[in-house]
């Protein structure tokens, strides 16, 4: 059996399993409320919650984009382990404050926090809409990256039998099917299986990388001979970029709507903290492995530039598969694991997108069945749009991640600062978001990605947070109206639409 035939067979088995899980999730549905559809009835326990967090956090970007970036940059890409771990560290600022409020007030979307926190103020609606728009843009970008990665992986795993366009459209249709029928329950259950598959695939790949390259030391010496700059201690600009990337991803990733909704969907606080404790270790066994794969590719593959470097992992696996049937079988497992990781991120992104558009942007009530139906229609429309866009990839996967983060990070003051500082006011927060977004988007539109190694999004955030904090300090305090506890205000039952 050829590698391509093995790949097609594995793909069919994978699709069949996903369809079966979807049917189980559909039968487990309690009702048709948005809470059941978008948050699995708020009943995710430690095991499923951990695996869905894992599968959602490690996406096509991690498995295709990160090896490509390691290949392009060299050893300084070890920063990827640090920035993926920084997400779980920054969650300390969000989870202990947000979770109790989410449970008490039945939050469904990230916007529910903003509505709750700023709902009684003049610019409360502006903060909500601006954050919802930024989140929507970031998530559409993220979905696009996943679809692109799905096309690449499917084409390689089937040795071209399933072309790029068919991989993108076929798997997008599958995601839409299981999400529409099973909601968050189907997403979380498939995520759990996909997380295990991804972990096993990467473990197999690590064993191959270490054994086939003659060991890490030999690989390092080979790279030193070919590209000495890839081994050298990074210069000042690259060090600034290292710190900036940790800040960019650590801060922006905790504002991921799909991550926030998993905080809401946890069965209890204990399950949530145990899941996050386990998540601390996943960058070591996931990001470090894909970093090593990208590094191992430097002496093996002729110079690949730009978008082409995103195919480093599939190319390595093709080489491995050519070594024999056993290797081919393991390579297929890795491919399907990568595909599973991509699918699990895409489904979570789509589910969050549909809830944000339906509830936060279109203003539908979060407790009505009609909102669930609207969310499903929104998901279908967004998926069609993203598929059409994904069929013509133009930029690298890593650049798509950076663009997404630079927008998303502008929402940080409205979440992290607002959760910890009761004097933050809606007007300055909105002004800060506008300024930060203008800096990040303006610089990006002029082709400026970083200034002295620091991302323009991080520079935008500094200006954004400065305006929000200084502007709030300059306004009369509302602390007295917050009650004797000084906690953030609660606009009970207040909705803006």
């Amino acid at each position: 059996m050829s590698f391509g035939q093995l790949g097609v067979a594995a793909l069919l088995v994978y699709v069949a399993v996903v369809v079966a899980v979807t049917e189980l999730a559909r039968r487990a549905r309690v009702d048709r409320t948005p809470a059941d559809h978008f948050l699995a009835g708020r009943g995710l326990g430690t095991f499923v919650l951990f695996l869905t967090l894992y599968a959602t956090a490690y996406s096509g970007n991690s498995l295709l984009g990160y090896p490509g970036e390691a290949y392009r940059r060299g050893f300084s890409w070890i920063m990827s382990t640090g920035f993926m771990m920084s997400i779980v560290v920054v969650f300390h600022l969000l989870v202990p404050r947000l979770r109790p409020l989410a449970v008490r007030h039945g939050f469904l979307t990230p916007g529910d926090w903003l509505r709750h926190r700023f709902g009684g103020e003049a610019f409360g609606r502006a903060v909500l809409v601006s954050c919802a728009v930024l989140m929507t843009l970031a998530l559409v970008n993220f979905l696009l990256a996943q679809l692109t990665a799905m096309g690449h992986v499917t084409q390689h795993v089937t040795a071209g039998a399933v072309p790029f366009w068919l991989g993108v459209t076929g798997l997008a249709a599958l995601i839409l099917l299981y999400e529409t029928l099973g909601g968050m329950r189907a997403v979380a259950w498939t995520d759990a299986g996909q997380g295990i598959l991804m972990f096993l695939g990467l473990a197999a790949l690590l064993l191959w990388v270490l054994s086939d390259s003659g060991g890490l030391a030999a690989t390092t010496e080979a790279i030193r001979a070919m590209r000495p700059e890839a081994v050298a201690v990074p210069g000042l600009r690259e060090l600034a970029n290292w710190a900036s990337t940790i800040a960019l991803l650590g801060l922006a990733s905790v504002i991921y709507p799909q991550a926030i909704q998993r905080i809401y969907a946890a069965r209890d606080g204990g399950a949530l903290k145990r899941s996050l404790a386990l998540m601390s270790f996943m960058p070591l066994v996931t990001t470090t492995v894909v970093f090593l794969i990208g590094i191992a590719a430097i002496p093996r593959l002729a110079s690949l530039g730009g978008v082409e470097a995103d195919t480093v992992m599939p190319r390595l696996l093709e080489q491995w598969a050519a070594a024999g049937t056993g290797s081919a079988l393991l390579a297929v497992v890795v491919f399907v694991g990568a595909l599973a990781a991509i699918m699990s991120t895409a489904d979570s992104v789509l589910l969050s997108l549909s809830s944000i558009v339906a509830v936060d942007l279109l203003g539908r009530p979060p407790a009505e069945e009609a909102t669930t139906r609207l969310g499903k229609r929104v998901a279908a429309a967004l998926m069609v749009f993203a598929v059409l866009w994904a069929l013509w990839p133009r930029v690298t996967l890593w650049r798509l991640i950076e663009l997404k983060m630079e927008l998303l990070i502008q929402c940080v003051p409205a979440f992290l600062v607002a959760l910890h500082w009761s004097r933050l006011r809606a007007g300055p927060t909105f002004a800060g978001i506008c300024l930060g977004t203008a800096i990040a988007a303006g610089a990006a539109s002029m082709g400026v990605k970083r200034i002295e190694g620091v991302h323009v999004g991080v520079i935008g955030l500094l200006a954004n947070a400065g305006v929000a904090v200084l502007g709030s300090l300059g306004m009369p305090s509302q602390a007295a109206s917050f009650g004797s506890t000084g906690r953030v205000p609660r606009a009970h039952g207040l909705r803006l639409w």
């Binding site: 560290v89 202990p96 890490l216 390092t220 201690v233 070591l284």
Partner: protein
């Protein structure tokens, strides 16, 4: 207090993980098969993972705010 110390340790390890204390043209040795500055960064991240996990296990993630009324709805009280 212990949790805060653990988190301070995480921040310290993050600062040490970035090789700002090395010259860009310094000779690079090999440690654990990796350039020495990469091995140090990876070691810092292993330490940070252990401390961060311990900090999470010591974190109190309550399911309702401290001032929530006993009769108040705890779940699904969507507005």
């Amino acid at each position: 207090m212990t949790r805060r110390l653990l988190l301070a340790g995480v921040v310290l390890l993050y600062v040490l993980s970035i090789p700002w204390y090395r010259d860009a043209d310094a000779a690079v040795g090999v440690l654990w098969g990796l350039p020495d500055w990469v091995a140090v960064a990876l070691g810092c991240y292993v330490g940070a993972a252990v401390l961060n996990a311990a900090a999470w296990l010591l974190t109190d993630v309550a399911d309702a705010p401290p001032d929530a009324s006993a009769s108040g709805p705890r779940k699904g009280d969507a507005q």
